[in-house]
């Protein structure tokens, strides 16, 4: 078990009891795509709402910048933009044209409105999408319905309206608690809007579950600034915190301006340090570090994202969005015109999710890559059943030096950490995989920090 699941410091309990509160983290499920068993139909849907006031300087997502109209009321300024309504119409057409994977009526357990800045979309249009999803796939009795919201794009009324529609989780895109940094990122809001937004969210009746997004390793960001942001975050008491390490992407403004590890970006060591500070502070504040960049109060994992980490299938709708259905990953066109053309094809039946026989190697790589991002780690027994014992043993052998150096942690069925020596013995044991060592995970923070290295090592074992 994660140490932070039983916080020693429990002076910051959730303000209100969460609606659903599993005693343990979600169990590691059989992998949806494993050839050994048919993948269960999707119970999650991602909906992309791409509109932003302007593009942040680090962003390379498929977004539509509406242009500056921030002087107008945050509620209806952009809300009347015809491009939004047009897009939502297109989105509804996509939903309508999508065939449910199952006829048994597996209802959606999670819906995630991501962006872009979904909070720029008028609640009435969000309602239309939710209604369409409900009509098409059904919603479970208590689904998790998340929406991303940016400071400065909503007021209390708008949020109340959204909650009234069934939205029960908000992901607030704060990113930093310093005006200078927000400006340097090209964010469309300042610190004042951040505080206002936090106030609105925390005061909202009927909304217990909300997340704060932060970005570390921003240009000119100091350790002090980062600690300040973490302090403000903890003070705001979100149930969930996402800490993203800034990625410098090609084709972005930041890509032109900065080189990773080179001033004004923090050095590799400093950047690693920011990550460690977040891990330490948030853990001490009672958050579980359940995935490389995700922290939550017990029971407040983002169920939608957990779908991804557990390699389960999910629907996706909208510009540039990626779905995973019947073992096939598909990314929709990132340009509006092409997306519109694609929706049309879908409607006339000229496009379908061909059940592509993704190779076993690819599946094994997906499973390793996704599960090692999480604190739950890789379920060796399940992996062995799906992909074979010899591959599992090779994988374990590859990780052995890192178990010894502490980057990788081995755990038994009860999720108790084992000594490296136990691991060695277990590997030599001829019997069933997982007789003693049942899970391996990357350590927090050192193993998580080197996840790319460790996962690519595993890739080298799976597909030499």
């Amino acid at each position: 078990m994660l140490r932070s699941a039983f916080p020693l410091v429990s002076h910051l309990p959730p303000r209100k009891p969460p609606p659903i509160r599993p005693a343990r983290p979600p169990p590691v499920r059989p992998y949806a795509s494993s050839a050994a068993r048919p993948s269960p139909p999707p119970a999650s849907a991602y909906v992309h709402l791409p509109f932003c006031r302007k593009r942040c300087l680090y962003c390379d997502f498929p977004i539509v910048a509406l242009g500056s109209s921030s002087s107008s009321s945050p509620v209806d300024g952009e809300g009347n933009d015809p491009r939004i309504a047009d897009y939502v119409r297109l989105l509804l057409r996509e939903v309508a044209a999508t065939r449910p994977v199952s006829n048994d009526g597996v209802p959606l357990e999670t819906v995630f409105f991501g962006g872009g800045t979904p909070s720029l979309v008028p609640p009435s249009l969000v309602a239309a999408v939710l209604d369409a999803l409900r009509g098409k796939f059904g919603l479970s009795a208590s689904p998790e319905v998340s929406i991303e919201m940016d400071p400065g794009t909503f007021d209390a009324a708008k949020l109340r309206e959204l909650v009234g529609l069934g939205v029960n989780r908000v992901s607030l895109g704060v990113q930093a608690f310093q005006d200078d940094l927000l400006r340097a990122c090209g964010r469309a809001h300042g610190l004042r809007e951040v505080h206002d937004a936090v106030g609105i969210v925390t005061a909202c009746e009927g909304l217990q579950n909300w997340s704060m997004d932060l970005i570390s390793s921003l240009p000119h960001q100091t350790e002090e600034m980062w600690e300040e942001s973490l302090r403000c975050t903890v003070d705001a008491r979100p149930t969930h915190v996402s800490v993203y390490d800034l990625q410098i992407e090609q084709g972005t403004k930041f890509g032109q301006l900065y080189t990773p590890g080179v001033h004004p970006l923090p050095s590799e060591t400093d950047s690693a340090n920011l990550y460690k500070i977040a891990s330490k502070w948030l853990s001490e504040a009672g958050y579980n570090h359940y995935e490389i960049s995700s922290y939550c109060k017990t029971g407040y994992e983002c169920k939608h994202n957990v779908t991804y980490w557990q390699n389960r299938s999910f629907y996706a709708f909208g510009l540039g969005s990626a779905s995973y259905i019947n073992g096939v990953r598909f990314s929709r066109p990132r340009r509006m015109k092409e997306y519109a053309d694609w929706v049309q094809k879908l409607e006339i039946g000229a496009w379908s999710h061909e059940p592509d026989s993704a190779g076993m190697k690819d599946m094994a790589m997906d499973v390793v890559m996704l599960s090692l991002r999480t604190a739950w780690g890789l379920d060796l027994r399940s992996f062995s059943k799906s992909f074979g014992k010899s591959l599992t043993i090779s994988l374990c052998n590859t990780f052995r030096p890192f178990v010894e150096s502490g980057l990788v942690i081995v755990m038994d069925m009860e999720r108790r950490a084992l000594q490296p020596s136990d691991f060695k013995v277990d590997l030599q044991y001829e019997g069933e995989i997982g007789s003693k060592v049942a899970f391996i995970r990357l350590s927090d923070p050192d193993g998580f920090l080197l996840s790319n290295e460790l996962i690519s090592l595993a890739f080298g074992v799976i597909a030499p």
Partner: protein, 657 residues
Amino acid sequence: MAGAAALRRSARRVIRPDEYTFSRTLQHAERLLSSQASPDRGGVLGSELGLYPPERIRNFSIIAHVDHGKSTLADRLLELTGTIKKGHGQPQYLDKLQVERERGITVKAQTATMFYRHAPDESDAPNYLINLIDTPGHVDFSYEVSRSLAACQGALLVVDAAQGVQAQTIANFYLAFESNLSIIPVINKIDQPTADPDNVKAQLKRLFDIDPSEALLTSAKTGQGLSQVLPAVIERIPSPPGKCDSPVRMLLLDSYYDEYKGVICHVAIVDGALHKGDKIASAATGRTYEVLDVGIMHPELTPTGVLYTGQVGYVISGMRSTKEARIGDTLHQAKSTVEPLPGFKPARHMVFSGLYPADGSDFDTLSHAIEKLTCNDASVSVTKETSTALGMGFRCGFLGLLHMDVFHQRLEQEHGAQVISTIPTVPYIFEYGDGSKVQVENPATLASNPGQRIAACWEPTVIATIIIPSEYVGPVIMLCSERRGVQQEYTFIDAQRALLKYQLPLREIIVDFYNELKSITSGYATFDYEDSEYQQSDLVKMDILLNGQPVDAMATIVHNQKAQRVGRELVEKLKKFIERQMFEITIQAAIGSKVIARETLSAMRKNVLAKCYGGDITRKKKLLEKQKEGKKRMKRVGSVDIPQEAFHEILKVSNVK
């Protein structure tokens, strides 16, 4: 002398434009090969060859500093005599070059026979048979340049009218001069606006004591002055000496392997005559062969059934491999004893290096490529070896650094083999306490902590001759003493130029000595060397260790006094080229169990992709796959991944001062 020639080539090699020469030469050769029967190429039947006694034969070569117009001049002479057709376009040659390359190195044969009617105005003017014996390309990488000159009695010394005498002009001049060749100075490219033939004449006078009136002024481009060239060849170059009545004796100039015909030898007939069906023997191997085909290169192989005294042509005699055809060997009438012609020396491999596939899985490709290549370059020795760091590979012996470089290049270009080579080394001799001796061609094979005491070690040396403008004497003396040289001679050859002779350990000059020499003398130094004795030296084996594990492919043998410095530079270089890994890496240089240099590469701190947004994992997966591929290209010692560049980079420090 084998070593000297090798170094001479090494020396030339480091001047970049030589590669250009090489490719030009290939084109040139291609031109020769591609020219089919020309209408006026005269009779070449065996009976007609008999019409050319030695006094009607001239054998010459063209020597020049790179880019002074040697190839163009050769082309013009061949056109002038109708040997090749005029106006063969360059692009065609390039296309064919590709084909030639695929076939191997058959292009390296550069001898052409021309027929020329001297003084055509007179009705009874005699015809001459003129052989242009060139060693282009060859000059760079085959092992006996002077052997080709040995078949000549004269040389055209071509000098660019604008650039004047250059370093290579001097080296080439002395090469020809030492071979007792008649030298015809040709001041070429006189059409250039900056041409200054009078100045060049003065230089020739001053440097070589050449009478200014002897110089021919030409432009191979416009054709100006070209008509004087062959008359000068006939008038000023003596006919080949040789006894027509003696049993046949010939010098083997070159050989190559042809898939259909087998080994084709280029020979210069010194005495007697060679007929198809004759039995000949090799002075070097004692083996006998029957002459299956004999003829001239006119310019392609043209059978004549016979070659007479003084003539130059080809022989096909059923040799199975070019290893049997040793360049410089004397072939002679079987069952007769002859005095071997001067020139034969077995190839001495003075530079050894391990060659490994850059991608571990490519061993078979490399093996195949080496096999094919050595088919036409018998001067490379090849034995299999295994390295813990690099896997299976080959230990190859070369005549010099250039030879090695060209071999690499051809492996990569012609055979698509990607090669990692280990630090070149020279053959050392180690003597143990019990009196037993070993020759060490691979430092890794020498025990780091030998059970027995090493009583003594020896290393090969050379006598180097360096000619430089006098203002550079100081820095050159400094360089030589840094390289452990011992001065033998220091004289002035004229008011401006000094001659230095040094005995230098071969190890000190095999990698970058000539580069260094050129750079401190603004390119004016000419440098040559000949093999000398082994000398006793205080040598030690230096290991490179990564996290305590020795990297066998990086072991070197160094002079004790230099070990510290070399070790320091090596570990520093490695620290730069080995990437940070998930654990700390110590990089050490050690002699026996004593660590003499150490660097620590701290562990990587962070390599994480935080975002995995909206379930779109494909991009992230691609990145990780790319990372995986990157790891695959690394060589692993223990748990440490070493990038291939590290192996290349340490070559550069291996010869640190």
